[in-house]
């Protein structure tokens, strides 16, 4: 049993990491879509440079989540794959088009080529629909409307679970959260390239998107008692402190942005993301797909979990230093071995 919870914790931490890193890559696409006016080219340039080295590694967290889920909790993945066939397919299309479109537009045919322009649009639209349907799917799972008596389920074709008002709210919240993450990161990147104008632009965007996220979050909380009662009761029972801290961190992020402490805002917005996803996870325990699927009744046998966790520990021991190296070469100001030039990172 303890192994199942450790596995779940590992998966949840991966989810948080994916949201904080991969989410920002989607958010950058959102801002790409909303870029207009005189500084469009510079914004796109900044986005391309920010995403280029890291988006593929960020994306792998999702793959790890999927394979970790079907190894740790095989029936959960099977059930959501059937019930949420439609939104998952849309997410998948979004993911594929986002990644391919990004590489096509950056390694493409020059800036003003029509093919580059088309792929640029595809990149930004795909960046919006993917987090939306991921958020909506998460809301569908938490709502308690996916019933799996004896593991038998059928596809929700009408969107009763994944296009409910609650799901739409959470989907929009996911998009705006991605947008906040991206705006905060991009303002730091702009700071490093000493582009004051873009710093200001992304700071403003971060604040607006942050306010929107708070609005959607509040709406989600309002809807939760009726739309996701198990989640709501679980939150009241054992996640209230986390929720309150998350709200305070949200306010602190806004304050850091107002006072132009961008590096602090970058840390806070990651904590905020961890708090949001963490409080969801804690509220929902012990259910994975409430009310029929729990951690206990869906976990794989302990020896497989143990085997996977040992492998995960070895994998992480290789992965985390490598990841730190990647980010220290491209994103962080600290020295790293083998790095020659770093003047554009303040």
């Amino acid at each position: 049993m303890i192994l199942a919870y450790i596995t779940l914790t590992v998966l949840w931490l991966s989810l948080i990491t994916y949201a904080a890193l991969g989410g920002a890559d989607f958010g950058a696409g959102v801002w790409d879509l909303l870029s207009f006016g005189y500084s469009v080219e510079r914004k796109r340039e900044l986005i391309n440079r920010a995403l280029g080295p890291v988006w593929e590694a960020n994306h792998v967290w999702l793959i790890f989540l999927i394979v970790g889920l079907f190894t740790g909790f095989p029936s959960v993945f099977a059930i959501v794959s059937i019930v949420l066939f439609v939104p998952f397919s849309l997410v998948l299309i979004g993911i594929v088009l986002r990644g391919a479109a990004f590489i096509f537009r950056t390694h493409g045919l020059g800036r003003n080529n029509p093919i580059t322009m088309i792929w640029s649009r595809v990149f930004s639209f795909a960046s919006v629909i993917t987090p939306f349907f991921l958020g909506a799917s998460a809301a569908a799972v938490t709502s308690g409307h996916i019933r799996a008596p004896g593991g038998n389920v059928s596809t929700d074709v009408t969107g009763a679970t994944w296009l409910s008002p609650f799901a739409i709210t959470i989907g929009l919240m996911a998009v705006s959260l991605c947008a906040v993450l991206a705006a905060v990161y991009l303002s730091v990147e702009a700071l490093h390239t000493k582009d004051e104008q873009l710093v200001g632009a992304f700071r403003l965007r971060a604040i607006i998107a942050g306010a929107l996220t708070a609005v959607f979050g509040a709406l989600g909380l309002l809807l939760a008692p009726s739309e996701a009662p198990i989640l709501w009761n679980g939150m009241l029972a054992h996640a209230l402190p986390v929720v309150i801290v998350t709200m305070l961190v949200g306010l602190a992020t806004a304050a850091a942005l107002f006072t132009r402490h961008f590096h602090i805002a970058r840390v806070l917005v990651v904590v905020e993301t961890a708090g949001l996803l963490g409080s969801w996870g804690i509220s929902q325990l012990p259910y994975l797909i409430p009310p029929d699927v729990t951690v206990q009744n869906s976990a794989n046998s302990p020896n497989v979990l143990q085997f996977m966790l040992i492998g995960t520990a070895i994998g992480m021991a290789l992965l985390l230093p490598s990841l730190y190296y990647l980010f220290s070469v491209f994103k962080l100001p600290y020295p790293a071995p083998g790095v020659e030039k770093k003047e554009d990172i303040a």
Binding site: I63, P74, V304, F307, L323
Partner: protein
Amino acid sequence: MSDLLAARTQMGTSLAFHIIFAALGVGLPLLMCIAEGLALRRKDVVWMALTRRWARAAAILFAIGAVSGTILSFELGLLWPTWIKFAGAVVGPAFAFEGFAFFLEAIFLGLYLYGWDRLSPRAHWFCSFPIWISGLASAWFIVSANSWMNTPAGFVISHGQVTNIDPLQAMLNPSTPYETIHMILACYVATGFGVAAVYAVSMLRGKRDEYLPSDGLSEARTQSVGRRYKDEYRRKGLLLALAMGAIAIPLQIVSGDANARFLADYQPAKLAAMEGLFHTQTGAPLQIGGLADPQTGKVYYALEIPDGLSILAKFDPNATIKGLDAFAPQDRPNPLPVHTSFDGMVASGFFALFVGWLFWLIYFLRKRRVSENRWLLWGIALSGPLSFLAIELGWMVTELGRQPWVIYGYLRTKDAVTTAPWLNISFLVFAFIYVVLAITMTVLLLRLARSPLPKMEWDELASGQSQSQGEKAGI
């Protein structure tokens, strides 16, 4: 299309698309690692230019590989939920470990592709090692999962439940050593001949006017220096790629032979379908080519070598080989595509072996001069696509030869498919996406191949200057 057929077609299309990028993802990093190592050791601009050009192609290829791999990981559940519940429980860790290997690959690829002007040349070169090593590891892990589908191990079924799971035994199932080695070698063969084919085509076309003028040189002098440079560039690209291909291909044929003999013991139905053997017989003939018609139980137009199959599979002309009639009709794979794919794969492999070795024979006989014989260059140009075709056909053999099972002997494909609706639409949408991706990618790669080579001063090439200049020029 029935739902089952639609799901199988979508899965097959996804695999056929992804495997090309997966193979390049294993092979290309090794080429880059060797070329960059040679460049640094000899301070050789040509090797460096090659490395850089390959890296630019890799940026496009690997991104498509990453997203098409994501499609597959989702499709495991979206199309085959019953399968993933079973396979995830037993052999899921193989997928998880493959995830880690892929992770490391993506991290160091990011460093490698975008780190030219940030990392020291030596640090940059070091970053290429984790890429090819984890490419190798991810191929091993993922193919071990496929091996498990062919020779399931590491669990017990009691009262309809999967119990007593031993994930290590599942990963190290009987097929694993045979299948993983065969696939990894296939990656090196295909990448080697594939890259060689690019330079063979370029030599056949004889383009020589793609050199960026260097400062301080006259136009004519630039042209002549550039021409020599370009020739050298193509020659080195061809040599390194063909070295990899020509070393891997004989090993691959030995590995393939071992695989077939393994199948005779572990998956005789697959072997029977591969060889178009309808009836169990002693002294079974080897049937080369032809059409194995499951309706009539005959192989038409085949070249028959008496006792050939018995000798190959058991080293004994009188050995008994199981034919398809040893299995109940509902348990037989369709020999028509399996036999044809198998022969196509073998023929492609032998063609590559012949061309690759002929090239090296001529090369050494003529005192290390690259032959510009048009027939030989055409052969190399053809061996590239044929090597990739061989990978596709090999997977057809593995997957179609396992039918009607998805987990051999335990779960039938028709029982594994999802109950979700609209599978036809899903297939059409994804097929459309693949077509669009393939077209765009081809256009970009062709454009890259046609773009001028960077300047040839060592200092600039090694430090990343000309790369960014090229980018500013919109290359």
